[in-house]
Amino acid sequence: MSKINYFREKGLNPEEELNKSRRSFIKYGGAALATSAIFLSGCELIDDYLPPKDPKPGMVDLGSGDTGILNYAYALEQLEAAFYTKVALTGFFSGASYEDIGVLDDVRKHEVAHRDFYKAALGKKAIGELEFDFSSVDFGNKESVLATAKTFEDLGVAAYNGAGKLIQNPDILVVAGKIVSVEARHAAAIMNLINPGGAFADFLNGGLDRAFMPSEVLKAAGPFIVTKIDASNLPTA
């Protein structure tokens, strides 16, 4: 593809440049043109013509641009889906109420649906199945399960909030927005199960939720993820 050679000769990163021009196209083309068809073909266009970036042995590379952000979200949804699936498979914690089970099983279904969506949306650009370690969780214990659930939901919200500005395509931004508010609903429901009648997490006192960059999120989720993840190609601004 001659455009890529052109960028290379100029000493530029072709993917970065193509992403930039795509963003300008979307920006100036107006929202009406930025359809999901462009989103899907856009991903294909850029990634299909690019050689794989030197993959680090033994590591899963999330990739770059919007594909990287989608894989990052896919990784987090895999984590959540695996956790709630294990919560269900272990019969929920001992003494779980009808309410506890109802909430946790709904959340499990939502996270599995999110995971399956990302896998399908990414197609052949999707990272593989990650391996997780939940040995720090006592699945028979209510406090342990709910504290872990709260951690994951609050972290998920902060991850999506932080990643918003890294997304180039408005359609992907809206999809992320459609999911993050459901994660926030989960977080509120889990808080209710932990402390019925209690209000909101203290970190919301200034009226704003948290927004974390991928490096912070992956560090926080790190103890639960066995597979090594290479996030170094993700956009940082």
Partner: protein, 273 residues
């Protein structure tokens, strides 16, 4: 103020024939429903939807400023609603801490948006700041009926979530503004889930046509708050085709955006010119 000026646009003169048809047929429907509603405890149409209205715009301002003023309108509505609710004595004692927290969040949102608008050179004069929570007498006072207060709270919060989501793409050129909008958006979603659960609903939007618990009229009139929430196709992927999870759970797992116009149509009956 243009939200208010919008109301003048019900003058049919400047509408196309097609728009007039839509308007008249809806008006007809509403008139009939109004008659039916006379015996209902909560009569009439608190959340009417007139879709044939022109797109709202604050004259002479940029798109970003437009979004900020739109957001401020909604935040002021919410803040005043909770402020009045807390001082009226309508709120059950065991729920006071929750509504105080929500009020404080909304107050912070108002302040953040006012500061941002001013720092970008905008003025606050044309942003609505007066509200009538009886919707010009269509409703009893929510500050006397707690069930109604809770139901309106749910409507405002679920609408707020959809409003911010719909505007996110318009803030993409400004990373800082986009991030703050997202940080507010998820707080509104937490509020929505909290209120929904206090009302005995799931925290997520599930098999909903309108808001239940206050009778048919209210449910029907609140349908625009949830219009389109049944969507299961995202970024071109019909999720029900790629997962084993039930279609209803898939619907719950994604919240949908609303256009600015759709949001204005929902809240305009609470704005005082």
């Amino acid at each position: 103020m243009n939200i208010i000026k919008l109301f003048d646009s019900f003058n049919l003169d400047n509408k196309s024939e097609e728009q007039q048809d839509i308007y008249m047929s809806r008006k007809e429907v509403f008139r009939k429903m109004g008659g039916f509603a006379k015996n209902a405890a909560l009569a009439s149409l608190p959340l009417a939807a007139f879709t044939a209205m022109p797109v709202m715009a604050f004259a002479g301002t940029s798109e970003v400023m437009d979004v900020l003023k739109f957001a401020l309108t909604l935040e002021r509505l919410e803040y005043k609603f909770y402020e009045k609710g807390l001082s009226s004595g309508v709120i059950a004692q065991e729920d006071m801490n929750i509504f105080k927290a929500i009020r404080d969040h909304e107050k912070a949102h108002v302040e953040i948006l006012e500061t941002t608008i001013q720092s970008l050179g905008g003025n606050l004069e044309d942003v609505p700041g007066k509200f009538d929570f009886t919707a010009e007498g269509r409703l009893p006072s929510p500050f006397e009926y707690y069930d109604l207060f809770m139901a309106l709270s749910q409507a405002f919060e679920d609408t707020g979530v959809r409003a911010y989501k719909g505007q996110a793409p318009n803030l993409m050129d400004n990373d800082a503004l986009l991030t703050v909008a997202l940080q507010i958006h998820s707080v509104e979603a937490r509020h929505a889930a909290q209120i929904r659960r206090m009302r005995g609903e799931k925290g997520w939007i599930s098999e909903v046509d309108g808001i239940e618990g206050l009778g048919y009229e209210f449910m029907d009139a609140s349908m625009p708050v949830y219009a389109g929430e049944e969507n299961t196709t995202h970024a071109g992927v019909n999720v029900t085709k790629v997962t084993q999870i039930s279609a209803n759970a898939v619907k719950e797992a994604w919240d949908e955006p609303l256009s600015k116009q759709a949001v204005v149509d929902i809240v305009k009956i609470f704005l005082v010119s």
